[in-house]
Amino acid sequence: MLALFPLLDRNAYHLDLATGVGIYVILAMGLNVVVGFAGLLNLGYAAFFAIGAYVYALLSLHAHTPFWIGLPISGVVAMGFGFVIGLPAIRVRGDYLAITTLGFGEIVRIAFNNLSAWTGGPNGLLGIERPKIWAPTWKGHFGFELISFGVSALPYFYLVLVLIAVIAFFLFRLMDSKFGRALVAIREDELAASCMGIPVVQIKLCAFGISSFIAGLAGCVFAAKQTIVTPDSFDFILSVLILAMVVLGGMGNIWGAALGAVVLGFLPEILREFAAYRMLIFGVLMILVMIFRPQGILGGQLIRRELTRPIKEGS
């Protein structure tokens, strides 16, 4: 159904906006793994997004790496940083973890800002290659041709849509497994989980890694779409915005996080006519949601296993 959106609405600006929101959806689903499922507050999520974006930007500019190879590399490098940051950070809890990740987020942004020789400093990196695909063509005879994505957001929209579907598919599988249960158990009661044999540090680190990997993918797509990356695209406000999406949509719910991203992504545009009062209304709406539905829009749907009929058997 969503795939039909570009056919119904031919406005290029709307399509561009929808693609941007799609990237938010990926980020929110990724952050949800850490915040929603494992209950770890990560305030530096934009840093992993930034790492993904810069990795592809650098690969593209220096090695002319095609997008499709850059995409997994961006994810893996972001995941590597996730492990490096996660290892010391996960040992501290609650507020302290939030502050540690907050610090990391700012360090990454400032590092990209100051490593001018590598990252172009505040000016960022320009001229990142767009993705190319082999598309069927008809020039008298049937053939394939390597076509680059253009300025139009249309191919990016579908790219993002496919990525969302694939990520959601794997996240659902992850959650409906012993790892998903272990994550939820850690969120519920870390001490009890540990005493029931859950290797808490290892599982948390896994969650951190998966979450960072997803952010890396989103960063790569973002870089390829904008063809320019600058440090100020990845500020603290972005981390907070994604966190707000997860909380608004419903922590621990995969579609909830996606819905939160859609709502918070489009809301500023819908409220555009209120001009100066836009952010004020935005804030008031957030407060109202938190008062009347503190668990988030789709929160509170507890994971229920489908067992058509209970197996009656002694052991």
Partner: protein
Amino acid sequence: MPLLEVRSISKRFGGVRALDGMSLSVDEGEIVGLIGPNGAGKTSFFNVITGILPADEGEIFFQGGQQSLRGLSSDKILKKGLARTFQNLRIFKNMTLLENIAVGMYSRTQSSLWSAFFRTRRFHVEEKKVFKRGMGLLDLMGLANQGNEIAANLSYGNQKRLEIARALATEPKLLLLDEPVAGMNPSEKEEISNLIRKIQKRGIAVLLIEHDMKVVMPLSNRVVVMDDGKKIAEGPPEEIRKNPRVIQAYLGEA
């Protein structure tokens, strides 16, 4: 050779000696009652054995192993076959009963993160096994038709049963029960006592902290009495009842 051998464990909290050279052993298939006045250090003792609190001194040996359990993390200790329940219930309230039990089986399953992502054959076989065994354990607890219920919706007594079931799911050799019948009525206490006997019959040794003498005494093969972080008496239940030091610890100086 004892199943569990704890040698002179000490634990200080600032100036307070919670455990002061506490020793204890549990044999295979035995039920040992651990009693003592409030603040004697019974729960601290459990916490040290299960790796929640680091011990200051002493060693813990399990199944004749040469390596002390001291310093291992809680999940590694569990994997060796030592499971526990908590004095104030620590079930996963927002998970279903079956999921609670499935968490207990985490350490006994092999499938990796990849097999969860790609749904390998092994993953399916293992998941099926986990939930079948889970149903079996719920059946043992008399909770068979509530497997998909959210744990928070259970009565207090059933939550306590669920916690025991979750501990059994970890396939322990020794089960540490911290006040399993606290807050229950006499008939429920009787049921839990029978359940503990059933657990013993499965070849699982039980170390039991309990205040209710009507429960501990008939159940235990041996009773250990603690006071001030030390063992003050040990022996068969009939002997402990008459031991003057025990009476003194409970009732104070005459």
